[in-house]
């Protein structure tokens, strides 16, 4: 029989690849939201309906996160900034769940239905944020991929293509910066 000292602490391995993919996706979503506020009237209307100072955080429990702040007429992506409180927080329960969603293997609506994520904060603002994220996903992703992420993909228009190009440029610029 083993003695007490034979029992060692076990440190689970880091899921560095899943974490990296999720971090990149958070960066895309963050810059995408910031850009969409400037160029998409639907997103602007939603964000303008939130209180003057409003923060939104998307995070993985024990993993990466992203913070958005609405303040002084701007909607800014603040990166992986640690905060004690955000008005609405959208949490993935595990990095694996976030990774499966980010790689399109579980759609965002399904992740919600499965309770693989949870929201902390006002439900009314959450609904508005979900609508914003849906628009951002249609800006970031080609329609044939976007259908894995949202329930109904809107028709592609010239305006949408232009906005998508602006979003890609901003994401690229943000990455270099």
């Amino acid at each position: 029989m083993k003695s007490v000292s034979d029992y060692k602490e076990i440190i689970p391995k880091k899921k560095w690849f899943s974490t990296l993919v999720t971090r990149i996706f958070f960066f895309f979503i963050g810059i995408g939201m910031q850009t969409a506020y400037r160029i998409d009237p639907e997103v602007k209307k939603e964000v303008d309906s939130w209180p003057e100072t409003f923060s939104f955080r998307m995070a993985v429990v024990g993993g990466p996160s992203m913070l958005m702040l609405k303040k002084g007429g701007a909607f800014q992506y603040l990166g992986e900034k640690e905060v004690f409180y955000a008005d609405v927080e959208m949490w993935w329960k595990n990095i694996t769940f976030a990774y499966l969603v980010m790689t399109g293997r579980i759609s965002v609506p399904n992740a919600v239905y499965h309770n693989r994520q949870f929201v902390r904060g006002s439900l009314i603002y959450t609904m508005s944020i979900i609508r914003v994220i849906n628009v951002v996903q249609t800006l970031l992703l080609p329609n044939f991929i976007a259908r894995f992420y949202i329930k109904e993909v809107p028709k592609l228009t010239v305006k949408k293509l232009v906005n998508r190009a602006i979003t890609y440029f901003n994401v690229g610029y943000g990455a270099i910066k």
């Binding site: 609405v88 499966l100 293997r105 579980i106 609506p109 919600v112 239905y113 499965h114 309770n115 693989r116 949870f118 929201v119 902390r120 904060g121 006002s122 439900l123 009314i124 959450t126 609904m127 508005s128 979900i130 949202i150 329930k151 109904e152």
Partner: protein
């Protein structure tokens, strides 16, 4: 996982409910023991005037006879739409009377108010607003017992409370597993005095919970079992409960059905019917049960109209016929007609209830005016339930459902 559809067992689901359920004749008499088990000896009763005037509190007080438990206070002035002001007022009484637990006796309003009081006492605050929303609560609550006096809301087993804040003009929604009571007590004495129209409306509220849980996006085998059993109980008992309110067997069956419907929908979630019904209640003050009863068939028809986008929902509505109309009707109906017959079966029940007690079957009969429909549709889009709809719901979709129900 990729492209997987139409699975019988969901690839993933969660189910949670920690409430001890006590159901039956003289069930109230077990409360003193259950409280002592939780270390409580001085409960506060929270109820409303209607419940007190119906003499129902006497049954609860009598159940403590011959025990060493003392009732710290009885608050019987909970209004229909409770507010943070009332919650703080009750909390002051709770503290002054040195109570150690809460018993809610009533419908959704009394139960939600008691949940609010529990937050204020546990968090030692007078500002509920700080705790509004999902998962903002962290501390274990005071021992909490719920005795429903209606058979509909299922609030005795749900983790949600809605309390108004008149100063800020918002309806504060609180969601946390910590809000669940320790014990739910179903005693037929508590529902026998319910008037026929309220019996019908609350019964249809419970039926709507079952239907939306059964066809919803978080549908799972455990919720299905509760929803199916509850639908059968409601189908077999709702008409008798309305006709013969004093029948305790029927009342107990309906109370159990409402509780099981609560267990089902609080885990499976609801959809467009509830989103639009919440908005209808908020804008036009239509009682929730009536709004659900009116909107349920139209919500199902909306889903059937979008069957190409969510064929699974259509299949679920087809299966619904077994529970909404019974096995005989189900086997006699060709598969292609089952979805439409499910809707028709629900209309048969509401039509019968309309004849018996005047339950509205159209929004116009429930006091909604046509000029309010757009506001209701807009409000419905901000309701949390809409995100659990199997298909995307636009403003036009919500308005279409409302117009059809008008």
């Amino acid at each position: 996982m990729f492209f997987k559809k139409n699975v019988v067992i969901p690839e993933y689901y969660e189910f949670f409910n920690s409430v001890k359920i006590i159901s039956g004749y003289k069930a109230l008499e077990t409360i003193p023991f259950e409280l002592s088990r939780l270390g409580a000896k001085r409960p506060m009763i929270i109820t409303d005037k209607g419940v007190a005037q119906a003499g129902l509190i006497k049954h609860v007080v009598d159940s403590f006879g011959g025990t060493d438990t003392v009732i710290g206070a009885i608050f019987d002035e909970t209004p229909q739409d409770s507010s943070n002001v009332v919650v703080n007022q009750i909390a002051d009484i709770y503290r002054a009377q040195k109570c150690d637990s809460i018993i809610a006796v009533g419908g959704g309003s009394a139960i939600d108010t008691a949940k609010g009081v529990n937050i204020v006492i546990t968090e030692d605050t007078d500002d509920l607003l700080k705790f509004m929303g999902n998962y903002r609560l962290n501390k274990p609550m005071k021992p909490f017992v719920v005795i429903p006096t209606t058979a509909g809301t299922g609030s005795e087993v749900t983790m949600v409370a809605v309390i108004a804040n008149p100063e800020k003009n918002v309806k504060m929604v609180f969601t946390s597993e910590l809000l669940l009571p320790e014990i739910a007590v179903l005693d037929p004495r508590m529902t026998v005095s319910m008037p026929p129209k309220i019996t019908a409306a609350t019964g249809m509220d419970a039926f709507t919970h079952c239907v939306e849980a059964f066809i919803g996006t978080q549908k799972n085998p455990i919720c299905d079992a509760f929803a199916a059993a509850a639908m059968e109980l409601i189908r077999n008992n709702i008409i008798t409960a309305v006709k013969d309110g004093g029948n305790k067997d029927v009342r107990l069956a309906m109370a159990n059905a409402a509780l099981m419907a609560g267990l089902a929908f609080s885990n499976s979630m609801v959809g467009i019917v509830h989103a639009v019904a919440h908005a209808t209640g908020g804008v036009c003050h239509v009682p929730h049960g009536i709004a659900n009863a009116v909107l349920l068939p139209h919500g199902l028809e909306f889903y059937l109209g979008k069957a190409d986008k969510s064929p699974t929902t259509k299949e679920n509505i087809e299966s619904l016929l077994l529970h909404a109309a019974g096995p005989e009707k189900y086997v006699q109906t060709p598969p292609a007609e089952r979805a439409a017959k499910s809707v028709a079966a629900i209309r048969d029940i509401t039509g019968e209830l309309k004849k018996l007690c005047g339950l509205p079957v159209r929004l116009s009969e429930a006091g909604v005016t046509e000029d309010k429909l757009e506001t209701i549709a807009k409000t419905a889009l901000n309701d949390g339930a809409i995100s659990f709809s199997p298909v995307e719901v636009s403003f036009e979709d919500a308005l279409g459902v409302l117009k059809a129900a008008y």
